[in-house]
């Protein structure tokens, strides 16, 4: 099956700097996901809002009413 690169009869292999770039992006995503996992799943560190009024302003997230 032709690949998109083959449609142009050209080979565009991934060179080392590109692999490094993609690997850094991947690492950042994994770290970000891991930190989120730690906060929400392991520590259960988040706030419950019980009424519409208790939901804070998006630009001032500290203005909430914790249950």
């Amino acid at each position: 099956m032709p690949t998109p690169a083959m449609l142009y009869n050209e080979s565009m292999s991934v060179e080392k700097p590109n692999t490094v770039f993609l690997a850094i992006l991947f690492l950042l995503v994994v770290l970000s996901g891991a930190a989120t996992f730690y906060r929400y799943i392991i520590k259960s560190d988040f706030i419950y809002f019980s009424t519409e009024e208790s939901i804070p302003d998006r630009f001032a997230p500290d203005s909430y009413q914790q249950l």
């Binding site: 690949t3 998109p4 690169a5 083959m6 989120t36 988040f46 998006r58 997230p61």
Partner: protein
Amino acid sequence: MTSQVQSLIEACQWAPSHFLVLSDNVFSPLLYYSYLGSVIPTLLIAIFIYLNGKKELTNRLLLLMGGSFAMWVFGAMVTWATEIPSHTMFFWTLLNIFEPFVYFFAFYFFYTFIFKKDFSLSQKFLFSIPLLPTLILAPTKWMLLGYDLSNCDRNAYEGILASYGYSLEIFYAVLIVIFAIVALRKLKSKEDREKTVLLTVGITAFLLSFSLGNILEVFTENWYIGQYGLFGAPIFVGFLAYLIVHYRAFNMRLIGAQVLVAALWLSVLALLFIRTIEDVRIVTSITLIFVLIVGIFLIRGVYREIAQRERIEKLAGELQEINERQEVLFHFIGHEVKGFLAKDAGAFASLSEGDYGALPEVMKPFVEEALVGARQGADSVGNILKASNLKKGSVTYTKEPFDLKALTVEAVEKARAAAEKKGLVLSFTADDSSYQMTGDKVQISDHVLRNLIENSINYTPSGSISVSLKKDPSTGLGAGKFVFAVKDSGVGITEEDKKRLFTEGGHGKDSQKVNAHSTGYGLYIAKSVALAHGGTIRAESEGEGKGSTFIVELPA
């Protein structure tokens, strides 16, 4: 979790989820259909393309885009199904991480596909840096403010960073359109422009419908709208498949059949999750439309393939007829030319030998040269005719016992004058064993022994040629084998030339620079004769300028 929270959650009476994604909390089983129906074709085509060129950057980027989209879909399905607030918070954040990445990789893929090059380092930095706030602040209250228990909807409440993510999506989509316009102004070829338009339409249809669905559902808080946005994915897959098929004359029937089978699998899978007749009607209608469209393409593909096959068969018949006519003509011309050259050679030989009286001294070199030329010409035409007969299978071999050593000595002695004329040292070694064998003496002598020795002389500008003959009893060829070898200090053979050395008309890359009279049929004939006698032939060389050794093994 406080007891107040616990009691509020219990009051909502959410159903438990299984395998994270299966639950009665999902408002309709059709949700699975829209999610799986979008992500499976996208992933299938991305994996399929990636496996066909793992090192291609465009293929990797398409896979990363499909992978990010699949992660998003998985996260979305969990948030629909789960009754556990911490799961909702985690997977909701993951959704917001992967969503801009779908757009980033789509843009990156688009750029490399259209411009046939990678981003420069500064472009990589410029286009990926906007993703950093999302990645760094994902676990903070700027991404999700908290869990909303006010209406039992199992929602997380999004912070300002989520809105930033949506603006990033628009940013990458706009970049795609801008770069598409730049490409269209730059590209000259009609085909390249068509490809750019098709990919731009396909990719923006996917990204914009995805964005619109996601943004509208957040701002209207109607979470069902997002489902419709997902149908941009199969549209993109369709455009991509069309690009591949149309511009590469790919086997439409194959891809059509694959898509059809995938569609049928999906519809059957979807039916497993459906409980109401109304939903069955909806799924069946969608499947019917899909199968109808793909079916038309499939039938057209089959028609086209049959027409192509018939055309190929017709052309093959015509080609065979032309070949046969040409071969007859070629043989006629060959025999005629060979006859004239043989007559010329005979006449020049008579003149040279003084059959018509002594030649004036001034004429002798010309007559000698003419004699050599006529003989070479007759040999060349003879070789070509011989190769043609070998190919047709019309060569007959006689079987008679002969002494291979005596034949080799005779071939060496016949070649000695030519070797000495070039200043080459020609030697022959053999032990006292018996070299009696059965075969076609003339063919072995002319086309194997003499051919290989003369070949070495032609391709050795200076140095030596050693011809050797030995008997090797330790072999699987019955009574052992005779090993005839010609080793020279000549031009050598490159690895590339070795591949076509024994093929019909197969010249080495620079062979005609060294030997202008080479027809390229000599070694092909030598190989055919050796094989016909149950033997083998091979060439060894350490490379260009390092000499070569030709080895023939014949059964004793």
